[in-house]
Amino acid sequence: MSLKQKISIQSILVSLVVSIMTIILLGVLLNFTTSFEPTLGNELLRINANNTKSANAVTSVVTYFRGFDTLGEVTILFLSIFGVGLGLKGFKDKLNIFSYENTLLKIGVDTLFPIIILFGIYVIIHGHLSPGGGFQGGVIIASGFLLMFLAKGDDLNINHKILELIESLSGAGFILIALLGLLVTDRFLGNFLPLGEVGKLFSGGVIPLIYIFVGIKVSAEITALLEYFIRIKDVR
C-alpha cells in the first residue's frame, strides 16, 4: 500500500481549503489597521457608555440591545437538549456512567468541585464587569459536574425532574423580566431598575439579572446533556 492510496481526495481538498482560508486570513491580518470612522460598533459603544452603565460592552449587546436574540439562542439550546433526551432516554437503564477507578481522581474531585462551582458562579455574576457571563459560567459549572460523573460513576444520582424544574423556572424568569420591562418602559427587555455606578457589582439595571437566569438555565441543560451522553456499555 503506497502513500498515494492512503491519502484520499477528500482530505486533500479539505486541507487545500483550510490553507487557502489561512492565506486569506494572513493577508487580512497583515493589512490590519484600526479605523476610527463612525461605524455601528462605535455607535453602540457610545450608547453603552451613556445608557446601560455596564463595564463590559459585549454583555450589554448580548443581553440588552440584542436580548431577543439571546432568548432565541436559549430556546435553540433547550430544543437540542429536548431532542437528545428524547432519543437517549431508552438507553438510560441499560448503560452505566463511564467512570475511572483512579484514586487520585476520586480524592482530587472532592477538593476541586467546590472551587470549580465557585468560579462558575463568579463568572456568571460578574458578567457585566469582566469577560464571561451566563453561557460561559454555565458550562464551567457543568464541567464541574462532569468531573463528578467521571469520579463517582453510578453512585451520583442526578434527578432529571429537578433539573428540568430549575431549567424551566429560570427560562420563565427571563421572560418575566422581559415582560416587566415591556410593562414599565414600553420596550421588550427594557430597563426598569436603577442603573447605579459603572464598575460596581450592583450596576447595569436588569443586565446581571438576565445573565444570572441564563447561567442557571445553561448549567442545568449542559449537565443534563453530559449525563445522557457519558453512558457506556461496560467500563474498561
Partner: protein
C-alpha cells in the same frame, strides 16, 4: 512582537489541523483537535475578544472533546481506525 507570536500560533494551528485530518487513529485526532482549539483560544485573546476566548476554552476544548471521546469509546476498537 505580537505579530510574530500570532504568526507562530497560526503556523502551529495549520500543522495541527493537517495532523488532525491525516491521523489514522480517531481518539488521537480528537486530542489534536483540542490542541487546535487551544491555539484559537490564544488567538481570540490576542485579537481582544476575551469573551469568545472563554467560550472556546470551555466548550471547544472541554465539553465537546469529552462528548466525542466517550462516543468513540462506545465504538468497537476496529472501527476507531479509519
Amino acid at each position: 512582537m505580537i505579530g510574530l507570536v500570532v504568526l507562530a500560533i497560526f503556523i502551529s494551528m495549520i500543522i495541527l489541523a493537517i495532523f488532525t485530518i491525516f491521523n489514522r487513529d480517531l481518539p488521537h485526532s480528537v486530542i489534536l483537535f483540542m490542541g487546535f482549539g487551544l491555539g484559537s483560544v490564544v488567538l481570540f485573546f490576542l485579537f481582544s475578544a476575551p469573551d469568545v476566548a472563554l467560550t472556546e476554552a470551555v466548550i471547544g476544548t472541554g465539553a465537546s472533546s469529552v462528548v466525542l471521546l466517550v462516543t468513540l469509546l462506545q465504538v468497537r476498537p476496529k472501527e476507531r481506525k479509519r
